[in-house]
Symmetry: C2
Subunit: 231 residues, 2 copies
DNA sequence: ACCTGAACACCGTTCAAGT
DNA sequence: ACCTGAACACCGTTCAAGT
């Protein structure tokens, strides 16, 4: 891309910043489900086709939006202890995405990592670097990152869908009779948990399980012993 | 639902089994992206609106399809050692879903668990039961299951998207220059990994990291010591 | 160089009516 | 009880043309 536009051609009426602003406005006002190419164009007062001169496609738009969001939410001090630094970085990524439930559509996109901006990459670097410092080979460090990434993406996506429904209905189902349709005699533990399941499943255990995962990964990699587990 | 239809009314021309068969046919022939309500109706030779007498909506259709798939793929013998039983059950769930990349759309649906059929619930039971046997409280057992579920869903979803692209393009990007657009001086570890990243990320480490996760979760729960780690 | 309307090829779902 | 066509309210994206 040239630094200056040169002299030729019609000057642009629509800028990248205007597009991202309008997109955020739609999300805040109407909800992220309403962010479509056509609506965004209407919000900008342009034809839907014009947008395609500024973004490659819908996915490209969402990734640009996510990178902006990351830039604003992702910075924080990280602990010096490697194990804790991994955990803190993962929590930072998680919390940033959790505030962005519409990330769901784009989080699993192929080549996602390659399209991330600097702030997000710095979090990946922090995790990979801390894993190396804890004694992992670079291969193990990448695998550790991917395990954490899968877990984090899964948590975000499942929780994003649960939340959207809960606010929609108010009530999901009669709380008693949770596993009643199944042959409960073959499911003794689930039967005993019964209608306590929804409440247990609604608890936020991301951080606790993350700590367990990181400790397990470091132990399997033959890396340094863990600090004391959080409960 | 009544056991017999009674005597009144027009007899159904379209059955649940016919619908699911036609759906599978579309998936096998045209790919799962082509499975839409309208196409499915066309395949059956009926109007799209008729389908709504047999399935609640598109999501309901997909969940019915997934339950059938689970019934056919999910059974297997499970080890007696609780830790290994958890791992084997998770792998069974994972492999079943991995063969079903179009699960992505439905895996994170709210109340998903409540809508699962008996075979899938038996896998949940196996994990929760094994966790209890390993010394977890029922609360810890549910949280352990959820952690594994998040990790598994994340892996499936990310990998499903990567695969669909890879087969599409043939080649993703010039392999050198993987992190080149970023300020590499602030990303020393990523810079050192460089273009080895795609190959490392493509490796299947689901099972290895799962073992680490389960060991970590059991250790954090104060449960029995683990068997020797797999490498 | 940038912007445009028209068009293509679709979606999921609801409704009032028919048999 | 089951099935229907028409309609509603949309999608993302491409193309040839205009300024």
């Amino acid at each position: 891309m040239p630094r200056s536009h040169g002299r030729t051609g019609r000057p642009p009426l629509t800028s990248r910043a205007e597009i991202l602003d309008a997109a955020r406005k739609i999300i805040d006002r109407d909800g992220w489900q309403r962010l479509t190419v056509r609506r965004l164009a209407a919000e900008l007062g342009i034809g839907p086709t014009t947008l395609y001169h500024h973004v490659r496609d819908r996915e490209d738009l969402l990734i640009q939006l996510l990178n902006e969001h990351a830039q604003q939410t992702l910075r924080r001090d990280l602990p010096s202890n490697p194990r804790d630094r991994i955990v803190a970085s993962a929590i930072a990524i998680h919390d940033s995405l959790a505030a962005w439930p519409w990330a769901a559509e784009v989080l699993t996109a192929d080549g996602f990592l390659r399209r991330l901006g600097q702030p997000a990459l710095e979090m990946v670097e922090a995790i990979v670097g801390a894993a190396a410092e804890a004694g992992c080979t670079s291969e193990q460090a990448v695998h550790l990152f991917r395990g954490i990434w899968y877990y984090t993406v899964g948590e975000i996506l499942v929780r994003a869908h649960s939340d959207s429904r809960r606010t929609g209905d108010g009530q999901d189902a009669p709380d008693d009779a949770f596993f009643d349709r199944a042959d409960v005699s073959r499911l003794p533990h689930l039967a005993r948990i019964g209608n306590r399941w929804p409440a247990l499943a609604a608890q936020d255990t991301y951080v606790a399980a993350l700590g367990a995962f990181v400790d397990g990964l470091l132990a399997h990699a033959g890396a340094v012993p863990r600090t004391e587990p959080r409960v």
